[in-house]
């Protein structure tokens, strides 16, 4: 008995200790996976790596580019067709250097120019999360790129011009909150993919970071985040920016077009502190630039037939929601007076909103949004041009006039 007891006590103790240790390890793993899931939301991985209605992260989404069609890859832990055979080092290498584990070059449709700024710790968490999702056996579809873009060696040239490897370096002169916001916006958020001008080589230049640009193939204009004449948020309150990013609507305006996807799949899941940090950083980008003082090329209302015709169209079709004075009924029906989104140099977005209408995304903060009717069926090219010219010039707005030809061209802009 005695011997038995003395023998069994250490064994019991050891097994208790081991059980305790493995329980702690499991809890740690779970915490890492949860953190990774959150960061994968911040990186909006789902937007490209999941086909609508298809299996989570199994890829296969067709993305039209000026160079041909690129298909996103399977990032589930399936060992044959996904990333099941990768290590955390491999994954960090892909995020950080834009090269596959075998050294192969990745097309910059994958925003590794932004993801390179992600820390090793965050990369490991995302990898742990991706290891935890159900593996899906779905071979990657080869890209369908035209000559010469089907030659991956060309990516080397692109990388020399546009890719700068390196994790985010905090700016010690700024607050921790600002730095957190900058890390998210420049890194995982990969906002520069749309909000920096895309040049003919498909790259976005660092010196023009966040200066806005027309998104190729989609025909939506991603406004500058640095100019208060566009989406510059320098004059917005932090609360208004937070509302816009996370809920999709605010008292100043709503998200639409490709940005609706970002709020829907990514930003609505971020916590208060992170959205606030992004708002602080974004506001700082727009601060110090002059508010819209551009001289309008729109003639004075009395002399302009287009404007008076536009006003008639506006009264008949728009005023019941956006109000005769353009103040709208925010946040449900956004204001048009003073809304920078409709006064930008590019008139693509307001024309498309009139033609296509749209709903802001359904989010936790705004689950049953108010939609705007598409007017493509109802209004002629002349009427669209007139009403967009009117809202760009009325109530102190300072946007230039729009022609019927511009309106007509955007009727065939892709809707998906």
């Amino acid at each position: 008995m005695r011997t038995g007891r003395t023998l069994s006590l250490p064994i019991l103790l050891a097994s208790w200790l081991l059980a305790g240790l493995s329980a702690t390890a499991r809890a740690d793993d779970q915490a890492l996976v949860t953190k990774g899931e959150y960061l994968a939301r911040a990186g909006d991985c789902i937007a490209c790596h999941t086909n609508p209605g298809g299996a989570l992260f199994a890829g296969g989404l067709a993305m039209a580019t000026p160079f041909g069609t690129i298909y996103s890859s399977n990032i589930t832990p399936d060992p044959k067709t996904g990333i099941g055979s990768w290590t955390a080092d491999d994954f960090y290498g892909v995020m950080h250097t834009g090269r596959f584990p075998d050294g192969g070059l990745i097309y910059p449709a994958m925003p590794f120019g932004s993801y390179t700024k992600v820390t090793r710790e965050d990369s490991d968490a995302i990898f742990a999360y991706l290891r935890s999702v159900p593996p899906v056996h779905q071979p990657n579809r080869p890209h369908d790129l035209r000559f010469p873009f089907n030659n991956r060696q060309l990516i080397l040239g692109w990388r020399t011009l546009f890719f700068q490897e390196g994790e985010y370096q905090p700016d010690p002169t700024k607050s921790a909150e600002w730095n957190r916001g900058a890390y998210l916006v420049e890194g995982l958020g990969h906002c520069a993919m749309c909000h920096s001008p895309i040049n003919a080589l498909g790259g976005s230049s660092e010196s023009k970071a966040f200066e806005g640009g027309l998104i190729p193939m989609q025909n939506w204009y991603a406004p500058s985040l640095t100019s208060n004449k566009e989406a510059g948020l320098g004059e917005w309150s932090i609360e208004e920016i937070v509302d816009l990013l996370r809920n999709g609507v605010s008292h100043r305006g709503a998200v639409y077009g490709p940005m609706a996807e970002v709020t829907f799949n990514s930003l609505q899941y971020l916590n208060d502190a992170d959205v606030r940090a992004m708002a602080i950083y974004l506001k700082s980008l727009g601060e110090g630039t002059p508010p819209g003082a551009e001289v309008s090329s729109v003639p004075v209302p009395e002399s302009s037939l287009l404007l008076s015709f536009g006003q008639t169209v506006y009264q008949a079709h728009c005023a019941s929601c956006h109000a005769a004075d353009g103040r709208g009924m925010p946040p449900e029906y956004p204001p048009l007076a003073g809304n920078p989104s409709i006064q930008m140099e590019s008139s693509v977005n307001p024309v498309r909103m009139v033609l296509n209408g749209g709903f802001p995304p359904g989010t936790t903060g705004n689950p049953i949004p108010y939609g705007m009717p598409p007017f493509a069926q109802t209004l002629s090219d002349d009427e669209v041009a007139a009403v967009v010219t009117y809202i760009r010039g009325a109530w102190g707005n300072r946007g230039s006039a729009v022609s019927a030809r511009q309106a007509n061209e955007l009727r065939t802009a892709p809707l998906d």
Partner: protein
């Protein structure tokens, strides 16, 4: 501010209250004068109006194509929605959102909406009973209409074509939860949908009964069926019949037994 004249006149009829008004009026005049001089104050002081907290106000996006109350419009290619079973409408909304039913303007509008919002939208339109939109006059001959009527009510037994009314109800107002009414639709819309089923560009949950039915129709059958259905007036009660009312001649994935 009591500026609505009719109300004020009424109140002035009450002698007890009349005395207070001159003072109020002068107050208003001063306030108005102040506001006129400081338009910026108006903008800040007056909270902007809120949109009505209703589904109608939310779903104005649907209006140009489907009518204010889902009654349909005179456009040939857009269907009436009001009164169709909520289950059917929900299936279509989800299929449009997920891209299984392709029509880019619809796919685009619904892309980022939640399941629960789509359910609300389906229930909203299913419950509406607007007066019917004006019907367009038929442009086919009586022989074609007669052929359409025969196919709709009896089918074509010899060729294995089931009657529309076998599933869509004797009054063709549909059956809960998944079978739509066929009245109040335009001829072009009906023939376009039958064509889409036939060529597999519109699909439903398997077994996809409509694909089988549409595949068994000839082009002249489609013309006749569409013309006859479009010529029918919407009955006074366009409600679909309850679930299980009809013994369906073939299995449909969208209408679970």
């Amino acid at each position: 501010m009591p500026l609505r004249t009719r109300d004020n006149l009424k109140r002035l009829d009450h002698p007890g209250r009349a005395l207070r008004y001159p003072a109020r009026w002068s107050g208003c005049v001063i306030l108005l004068a102040v506001l006129m001089y400081f338009p910026a104050v108006v903008a800040l002081a007056q909270p902007t109006e809120h949109a009505p907290d209703t589904m109608e106000a939310r779903l104005r996006a649907c209006e140009p194509c489907h009518g204010r109350q889902g009654e349909g419009t005179n456009n040939d290619y857009f269907p009436r929605l009001a009164g169709k079973p909520a289950g059917y409408l929900m299936n279509q909304l989800v299929a449009f959102r997920d891209g299984r039913r392709r029509y880019p303007p619809m796919n685009y509008l619904l892309e980022y909406q939640s399941h629960s919002y789509l359910q609300k939208i389906a229930e909203y339109f299913a419950a509406l009973r607007p007066p019917p939109a004006q019907q367009t006059a038929t442009d086919v001959g009586s022989a074609v209409l007669a052929r359409g009527r025969s196919l709709v009510t009896d089918g074509d037994q010899a060729r294995g074509v089931p009657a529309c009314s076998g599933c869509h109800g004797p009054k063709l107002t549909g059956m809960e939860p998944g079978i739509p009414g066929l009245v109040g639709l335009h001829k072009s819309y009906i023939s376009a949908q039958l064509g889409a089923f036939r060529y597999g560009t519109r699909t439903a949950a398997k077994p996809d009964c409509m694909q089988l039915v549409a595949a068994s129709l000839t082009e002249s059958d489609v013309t006749a069926v569409a013309a006859w259905l479009a010529s029918l007036a919407i009955p006074a009660d366009p409600s679909p019949v309850p679930k299980g009312t009809l013994q369906m001649p073939l299995g449909c994935g969208s209408e679970p037994n």
